[in-house]
């Protein structure tokens, strides 16, 4: 199994040091030029833009997903299954089809605008489609289940007695959440954030369809380099830089966790 994971990666790594032939083939000469190009401010801007969008999408998923997961985890067990099923049902439909459905909902004369105008909340249609807002909606919609499921697993294991003890000791609501619930469900929060952040960072269908291809995320850049410019070496280098960034972030996080959880320092 490991081989199937590492072989393609190895291939991509090797290609990232090659260069593009005039007709788009791969010319085998070792150079770091592709990585130097990634450092160009133009491409760094794409990375920054993607990072910001992915971060905002992750925070939104967490804010929306936590109450939902908490609610499900506190339901009677037989209802929990039903709710979890409802969370997962969207996966039965192709992601592309669901993204197209959002186009129809967000259009100028679409469902959202007719509902808002019909209820008298606004009098001019909102121009949501083909903007970064639409991209965010698409990302949050697409990856919310990845946040809810690990959160549910963590909250479900949280003993009720601990929360009740906090209330009994007259902790204010914010303290119950901030000092009891959140620290005890932290593994779920971290897992959910990772599962949402990483695919958001590499998304390319959502920015193309809901963002109207008006801007680029890293995923679009990679797709563009591979399929349009046929510069596989540069596309591979971008992929590896992206992967390096994600790995560095994860390692840094694990490192801080380790130092914080060292025996003796635990409170």
């Amino acid at each position: 199994m490991g081989a199937f994971f590492f072989l393609p990666l190895l291939l991509v790594l090797v290609i990232s040091f090659a260069s593009r032939g005039t007709y788009g083939g791969v010319e085998w000469s070792f150079s770091l030029a592709n990585y130097a190009t990634v450092a160009d401010p133009l491409y760094l801007k794409i990375f920054l833009h993607s990072l910001v969008l992915a971060l905002v999408a992750t925070v939104l998923c967490l804010v929306l997903g936590f109450p939902l997961a908490y609610y499900i985890a506190r339901l009677p067990v037989r209802w929990q299954g039903v709710w979890l099923l409802l969370v997962m049902i969207p996966f039965w439909t192709n992601f592309l089809v669901r993204t197209y459905a959002w186009i129809f909902m967000l259009r100028t004369e679409g469902l959202l605008n007719s509902l808002l105008i019909g209820s008298g909340l606004i009098d001019k249609p909102l121009e949501v489609l083909f903007s970064d807002t639409a991209v965010l909606i698409g990302l949050v919609y697409g990856y919310l289940p990845f946040m809810v499921l690990p959160l549910y697993a963590a909250i479900e294991r949280l003993p009720r007695s601990v929360v009740e003890a906090a209330w009994d000791l007259y902790a204010p609501a914010w303290a119950v959440f901030w000092r009891v619930i959140l620290p005890l469900t932290k593994p779920g929060v971290v897992a959910g954030c990772i599962l949402v952040f990483i695919p958001s960072l590499g998304a390319f269908i959502t920015p193309d369809l809901l963002g109207g291809a008006r801007s680029m995320m890293v995923g679009n850049l990679i797709q563009h380099e591979y399929l349009v410019v046929r510069d596989w070496p540069f596309g591979s280098a971008v992929s590896f830089v992206l992967m390096g960034l994600v790995l560095t972030g994860l390692m840094a996080y694990l490192r801080t966790e380790e130092t914080m959880n060292k025996p003796g320092e635990e409170r």
């Binding site: 199994m1 490991g2 081989a3 199937f4 072989l7 005039t22 007709y23 788009g24 083939g25 133009l42 491409y43 801007k45 794409i46 833009h49 186009i103 259009r107 100028t108 004369e109 121009e127 489609l129 083909f130 193309d208 369809l209 109207g212 291809a213 008006r214 801007s215 680029m216 679009n220 850049l221 563009h224 591979y226 399929l227 349009v228 410019v229 046929r230 510069d231």
Partner: protein, 364 residues
């Protein structure tokens, strides 16, 4: 010694995986399973692998050929010329014939991917329109025969735009802010800007490409979306009133909203032709050429145009298509417009300039 055994296990796995990888590499699963026929004339069990654009065949016409020639045709699809090239370059050798566009034909010839055609076996090639013969991308018509062709122009909603536009500059008109869509295709978008400034769409001069970029940056606030797939729906639904687009797709929008019109601007637009080619790796070349001859038949070509809304290269077929389609300028541009059209050529290393300018445009 657990760890050592573990490592050996890893190496065995890696080795097995590598062998599998190598074995599968050159011949994809969908390649022909049967041994090749010697001498050409294929028996009833032969299978022809046809690699074409998505939604680019009429099932009934394919079935008719299967019955007539006693063969099986397996259709596989691609979404862009680049995808076609990438699949063939990465070693997919199971295909017999494909449908690359003009500029991709020249790249595929240079890459040695195509087999020479024997025009004696394709008598219908004589029916190809004069102006589609011996084109710059295959000057001696040795490797390719044009199949379907069309133009890139402007689709507009005549309910909103009262006076018919005649210039690319209408796409820079601030009155239609947020109601304009452009193709999500760097060469076509730059082509529109270059043409509006009186340059060739195949400009290679960095200064000229830079000027075109500045013009497109100025246009961006007016553009609702860069889309190559959904613009005909956006036109039909009224989300945009002006769309740079392929004639055939605009013709589809017309079917849903009759007020949609199509124009090839006076500065000229792009003309394209998708061509039938036989791949060098094909083991059924004669059969492939027989199939090409069938697709180029006047009646078959007319039915193809009826179904796909793209004009055929066959000069006799135009009289045989439905009259509404025959008179539709999005499918058959008026004769005067033909002189203003330009073929998109491979720009070689200058593609780097377009690529960078395109990325910069997207980040504005």
């Amino acid at each position: 010694m657990q760890s050592t055994r573990g490592q050996i296990g890893h190496w065995v796995m890696l080795h097995v995986a590598w062998c599998f990888f190598v074995a599968c590499g050159p011949t994809p699963d969908d390649g022909p399973k049967k041994a090749p026929q010697v001498g050409g004339s294929a028996g009833p069990s032969a299978t022809l692998h046809y690699f074409t654009w998505s939604d680019y065949v009429d099932e009934q016409l394919i079935e008719a050929f299967e019955r007539k020639a006693g063969v099986k045709i397996v259709v596989d699809t691609f979404g862009s010329n680049e995808e076609l090239l990438a699949k063939l370059q990465s070693g997919a050798s199971g295909y017999d014939l494909a449908v690359p566009s003009d500029f991709m034909v020249s790249i595929m010839i240079k890459q040695g991917l195509l087999a020479e055609l024997d025009l004696a076996k394709i008598p219908n090639s004589k029916l190809v329109l004069d102006w589609l013969q011996k084109l710059p991308f295959d000057p001696e018509s040795r490797y390719s025969i044009p199949y379907l062709w069309g133009t890139v122009g402007i689709g507009y909603n005549s309910e909103v735009i009262a006076s018919p536009p005649d210039s690319w500059t209408v796409l820079w008109d601030p009155r239609y802010k947020g109601k304009i869509s452009m193709l999500n295709d760097q060469r076509e978008v730059f082509g529109a800007a270059l043409r509006s400034m009186g340059h060739s769409i195949n400009a290679k001069d960095p200064r000229v490409i830079g000027e075109a970029k500045a013009k497109l940056v100025a246009q961006k606030p007016l553009v609702k979306t860069y889309s190559s797939e959904t613009y005909h729906q956006l036109l039909a639904f009224g989300d945009v009133v002006l769309a740079q687009g392929w004639g055939g797709a605009v013709a589809r929008a017309m079917a849903e909203r009759p007020s949609i019109q199509y124009v090839i601007p006076k500065e000229g637009g792009t003309v394209w032709a998708d061509c039938l080619v036989v791949l060098r790796t094909s083991r059924h070349r004669d059969l492939a050429m027989q199939f090409i001859n069938y697709l180029l038949d006047s009646e078959v070509a007319a039915r193809t145009t009826d179904r796909l809304l793209f004009a055929s290269s066959n000069r006799e077929s135009k009289d045989l298509v439905q009259s509404t389609i025959r008179e539709n300028p999005a499918v058959y541009p008026p004769g005067a417009a033909l002189d203003r059209l330009e073929w998109m050529a491979d720009v070689g290393e200058a593609i780097r300039l377009y690529d960078r300018a395109w990325t910069e445009l997207k980040l504005e």
